[in-house]
Amino acid sequence: MIHYLIQDPPQDPPKWDGVPAPDIDQFGQFPKLASTFHDVDGLFYFTYAVCIFFFVLITGVLLYSVVAHRRKTWDQKPLSNVTHNTPLEVVWTLIPLVLVMIMFAWGFKGSLDMTVVPHEAHLNTYKATAKQWSWQFTYPDGTTSYDEVWVEAGKPVQFILESKDVLHAFYVPAMRVKRDVVPGRYQSAWFEPHFTKEFAEGEPREQTFHLFCAEYCGLDHSRMYAKVHVVDAETMAKTPWNLVPKPEDPIEDKIAYGKQFANAQCLSCHSTNGAPGVGPTWKGLFTKDADGNYVGRQRDVLEGGQKKTITVDDAYILESIKEPMKKLAAEFPNGGMSNFDSLKDDEARLACILAYIKSLADN
C-alpha cells in the first residue's frame, strides 16, 4: 500500500468487510445461483461447451498441421495447393449459423424472463436510489435503509432504479441481475431470491450477497457497494433495517450507528481526520471543554452569497444535511452536496449522525 505512505489511509474498513465470499458453482465459473434465472447458467455453459469444442478443433488442426507439415528444407513445396472446397465451406458456414441461432433463441427466452416483471414482484416493489457513491433503498412500507437491503427468500422482488446524478448499474452477481441506473428516468429489475446453502438447525436463515455498481460513475465507483441480505419471512417481519437507536437509547449505540451510517453515506466526501475531501472535513467541528460540553468552532459560511461567521451547533449541522446549499462552508463556495431527502424527517438517524460527529471532538 505504497500510496498510503504519502496520503492518509481510508478511515474505515471497506463496506464489504465481513461479507463472506459467495459459494462457487461446480464448474468454478459463476457464484452459485441465488435466484430463479437458471437460463443464464444453462446457456452460459452450453455456449461455453460449444466454444471449447471449436477451440479444441481449431487449435488441434492448426497445431497438427504446423507440426506435421512444417517446412524441413528451405525450398519445400506444399503437399496440396487446394484453394477451396465448396461442401466444406458450406458446412462450416451452416453449422455455426445453426448453433448461434440456438443461442439467440435461448438467450431471447432467458432475457424475456428477466425483463417481464411478474405480478408478485409488482406487489413487492422496492426503490433503489443510486447516487455517487452509495445506495439507498425504500421498502414497500416507505421506510428506508442505506447500503444494505433485506429481501425475503422465495418472494419475488422488483427494484425501481433511480439515479440522482450519473449513470450507475445495479448488479447482484449471485442473482444474475444487472441493470443500468439512468438519471432522468426509472429502470427496473426483478428477481426471486433464494438461499444457496442448507442451514443447520438453529442457525439464522440469512445469507448476504454483493451488490456492485457496474457502470463507471467516477471517483469512488469501486466503493459504491451494498449488501443484499436474503432472509426468511420470520426475520423479514422484524424489519431489521428499522433498528435505529431511539433518542432514549444509550449514546454509545447512537454513535456506533451514526458511525456506520456516516461510513456508508458521508465519508466518501467528508473526512474525519482533517484530510481535504470533496466537502469540508468533520474534524474539529466541535471540541469538548473541561466540563464535557461540546463547543462548536467558528466557521465562515456563505449564505445567499454573503459571507458571515457563525458558530457550529446542532441546528447548523442539521440544516446542512437538510438544506446543503443554504449555508456553504467558505472553502467550498460551489457546494454540491447531494440531497438527502429521505433523512429530512428521520429524526432518529439524524440524532445518530449528530452524536457521531460530536464524538469526533477533541478533548
Binding site: 446543503p324 446549499m325 443554504k326 457546494g335 440531497n339
Partner: protein, 247 residues
C-alpha cells in the same frame, strides 16, 4: 535509375491567359488524377453527411420526446428570413454550378464573375443569419454573452441556464424550452461555419482562376469546391423546413 522512366504528364493550356497543368508524379494520366480527386472528395462529402447526420438524429429524437417544445420554439423563428436565406443559398448554388461550367469551358472572366457572386451569396446569407441571431439574443432565447456561463443547479434538483432566459416568456409551460434553441443554435452554427469555410475556399479558387490555372483541361479544384458548396446548400434545404416550418 528509378527517376529515369518517369516523365511528367502535362496538360497544355487552351490559351495564352491560362497556364498548363502538370499531373502529379504518381498518376499516369490526367483522367486518373481527376477521377481520384473526385472520388476522394465524394468520400469526404459522405463523412460530412454523417457528421451532420448525428445532429439530425438528435433533432428527430428530441422532436419525438418534446413535440410541444419544438412546436412553440419553431414559432419563434421568422420563416420569412428563413425562406429568404433559402433562396439566397439556392441562387448561390446556381451561380456556383455556372461557375464550374465556365471553368469547364475555359471562360476565365465568367468563372470569376460567377464565383464572386457565390461569395456574395454567402455573405448575404451570413448577414441575414446575424440578424436572426440578434433577434434571438434580444428576446432572451439565446443570450450570446451568457453562452459559456455554468449551469446553475438548485438543491431541489431544478436549475437554470444562463443563456436561456425565457423560462417564463414565450416558452413558459413547455418542458425544457431551451432544447429547441440549443439544437437550432448548434445546427445553424455548424452549418454557418461550413458557409464561411466554403466562401473561403471559393475565394482561394478565385485566385487560382485569376492566375489562369483552371481551364477545360484542368478544373478539378473548381469542381470540388463546387461540390462542397452544393453540400452546404443541401444541408440547408433540410434545415429550413425542420427548424422554421415543421415544428
Amino acid at each position: 535509375m528509378s527517376h529515369d522512366d518517369h516523365h511528367a504528364v502535362v496538360v497544355p493550356a487552351p490559351g495564352p491567359e491560362f497556364v498548363p497543368h502538370e499531373v502529379a508524379h504518381h498518376f499516369s494520366t490526367p483522367v486518373q488524377e481527376f477521377q481520384s480527386g473526385k472520388l476522394g472528395f465524394w468520400l469526404f462529402l459522405a463523412t460530412e453527411i454523417l457528421l451532420f447526420g448525428g445532429l439530425f438524429a438528435a433533432y428527430f429524437y428530441f422532436h419525438e420526446v418534446y413535440p410541444e417544445t419544438f412546436r412553440v420554439g419553431g414559432q419563434q423563428l421568422d420563416w420569412r428570413l428563413g425562406a429568404l436565406n433559402t433562396s439566397v443559398l439556392l441562387l448561390s448554388s446556381w451561380t456556383m454550378a455556372m461557375g464550374v461550367r465556365s471553368a469547364q469551358t475555359s471562360q476565365k472572366s465568367k468563372t470569376l464573375m460567377f464565383l464572386g457572386l457565390t461569395v456574395l451569396g454567402a455573405a448575404i446569407f451570413m448577414v441575414i443569419k446575424f440578424f436572426e441571431y440578434k433577434a434571438k439574443n434580444e428576446h432572451g432565447l439565446i443570450v450570446f454573452s451568457e453562452l459559456f456561463r455554468p449551469f446553475i443547479e438548485n438543491p431541489d434538483g431544478t436549475g437554470s441556464l444562463a443563456w436561456f432566459q425565457d423560462y417564463h416568456g414565450v416558452m413558459a409551460g413547455v418542458p425544457h424550452g431551451h432544447m429547441f434553441f440549443a439544437i437550432y443554435l448548434t445546427m445553424t452554427a455548424i452549418h454557418g461555419l461550413h458557409v464561411v469555410i466554403g466562401a473561403g475556399l471559393i475565394i482561394w479558387i478565385m485566385f487560382g482562376t485569376a492566375k489562369g490555372r483552371f481551364h477545360a483541361g484542368y478544373f478539378m479544384p473548381v469542381d470540388l469546391v463546387g461540390l462542397y458548396w452544393h453540400l452546404v446548400d443541401l444541408i440547408w434545404i433540410f434545415l429550413f423546413p425542420l427548424l422554421y416550418l415543421v415544428p
